[in-house]
Amino acid sequence: MSINWFKFASPAAFYPIAGRMIPWFAGIAIVLVLGSLLWGFFGTAAQLGGSNPQKEYYRIIYIHVAGAWMSMWLYLVLAGWSAIGLVFNTRLSFMMAKAVAPTGAIFTVIALWTGAFWGRPSWGTYWDWDPRLTSELILFFLYIGYIALHSAIDDTRRADRAAALLAMVGLVMLPVIYWSINCPDPTQCAALHQRSDPGSIHASILWPMLGVTLGFWSYAFAATFVRLRGIILLREADSAWVRELLQGDSGR
């Protein structure tokens, strides 16, 4: 069986499919996030860590880590669609990139916010310039830069391509920025570097965390598609199929 994937690169073809998928992703998101959070809050240990354990408040990890993962992943998605758009010159890719950006920015805010609330009881301060949180803040700035550049340019084609190039420059610089924040003193890098390794997390905590992440993922799909449908309608407002669609709606 062969599917012509390029068929769905047309906004007119993708619009109804996105519409059909939204309720599914939204439903999965609600079920997974609520289920995993209930599991995380009532089904896991009351303490985390050995000699100096974190009490109940460590449970913010389920939202914090999942949000941080999603924010990084979505930047990759954003840059990926930007690259595909620049290479193949497909309109839908640029629309997809634009639709992903706000969701990614929201996840960085979630990660920063929950990080601050986690920092208060465990470090005694809301903000400690922890390398991972600082990197998250910079990622937030990159998202904001993308959104700001896109909205500052009136010509859609130029806005799409300029913002896409910026996203790719950001992707090249991101590892350098991340490394420089983690390692401000190049001679003592190993000592300073904090390691996050899924294997070091206890399985009972890891599974609800992965559940929330999948739920967030579903939410990202749903939110992106809702936004994408809006962008498609706005940009294709003059085309025949949108006019037919709107007439069909008003006729009902």
């Binding site: 910079i138 830069g145 550049l149 391509r161 420059v169 950001g170 924040i181």
Partner: protein
């Protein structure tokens, strides 16, 4: 190709030297920002010595960013830039020539003025030297990265503020290692070597990728 490169470099330098105030504004902006900090945080010598490296580098970032707006603006307004895009010469090379001219006019003066700032902040001779060395290695990178942003925001309303939003996050590694080089040189000059190497590596990366990306950005903006 070399001929084109040199003629653009010479042209940009001549044009700028006919309007010297443009060059001096950036320099004085740098000086004013650096001079404001002791007034804001107090002028104790120990405090200044600690703050100095960071303040100088943040001021250098801001000054180079402010100067960026003018990198392509004049050529864009009078149509020269469009002609440059139409020439058979590689656009990346033309961009590189413009960035180097721009650095000679706005980056190099910061390096030259650095000893004065080292005096203001009570820094020793070693740190003064290191400040010059790190600025010499770091400011061209700022210009090369900034050129991408300047090309992307060409002709937009509120381009200057937007430019800072796009470019300042990308300047972070240079800020960290530039400031680090000056700070650790307080103890021994040799301690700064890894920082300078990293600044050099960043400069090499920016030299290879920067003009090419800025050229692509110019083509998008002038499309």
């Amino acid at each position: 190709m070399l001929k084109t490169f040199i003629s653009i470099l010479a042209r940009d330098l001549t044009l700028a030297l006919r309007r010297r105030t443009d060059v001096l504004t950036v320099l004085f902006f740098f000086l004013i920002v650096v001079s404001l900090f002791p007034l804001g945080v107090g002028s104790e010598q120990a405090l200044l010595r600690e703050l100095g490296p960071g303040v100088v580098w943040v001021a250098a970032l801001l000054a180079s960013m402010l100067a960026l707006e003018r990198l392509f603006a004049a050529d864009f307004e009078d149509g020269t830039l469009e002609q440059m895009l139409l020439t058979p010469q590689p656009l990346g090379l033309l961009v590189l020539a413009k960035v180097i001219a721009h650095w000679l006019l706005t980056g190099l003066p910061l390096v030259v003025i650095a000893p004065l700032i080292a005096l203001q902040y009570q820094l020793g001779d070693g740190q003064m030297l290191m400040m010059m060395a790190s600025l010499l290695l770091g400011t061209p990178t700022l210009g090369l990265i900034g050129a991408i942003g300047a090309a992307l925001t060409l002709g937009l309303r509120g381009g200057g503020i937007l430019l800072s939003l796009l470019i300042l996050p990308l300047y972070i590694p240079i800020l960290i290692y530039g400031e680090g080089a000056v700070t650790v040189s307080a103890i021994a000059l040799a301690d700064s070597e890894p920082y300078l190497m990293l600044l050099g590596a960043l400069l090499m990366m920016a030299l290879i990728l920067g003009p090419w990306a800025a050229a692509a950005a110019l083509r998008i903006s002038m499309d």
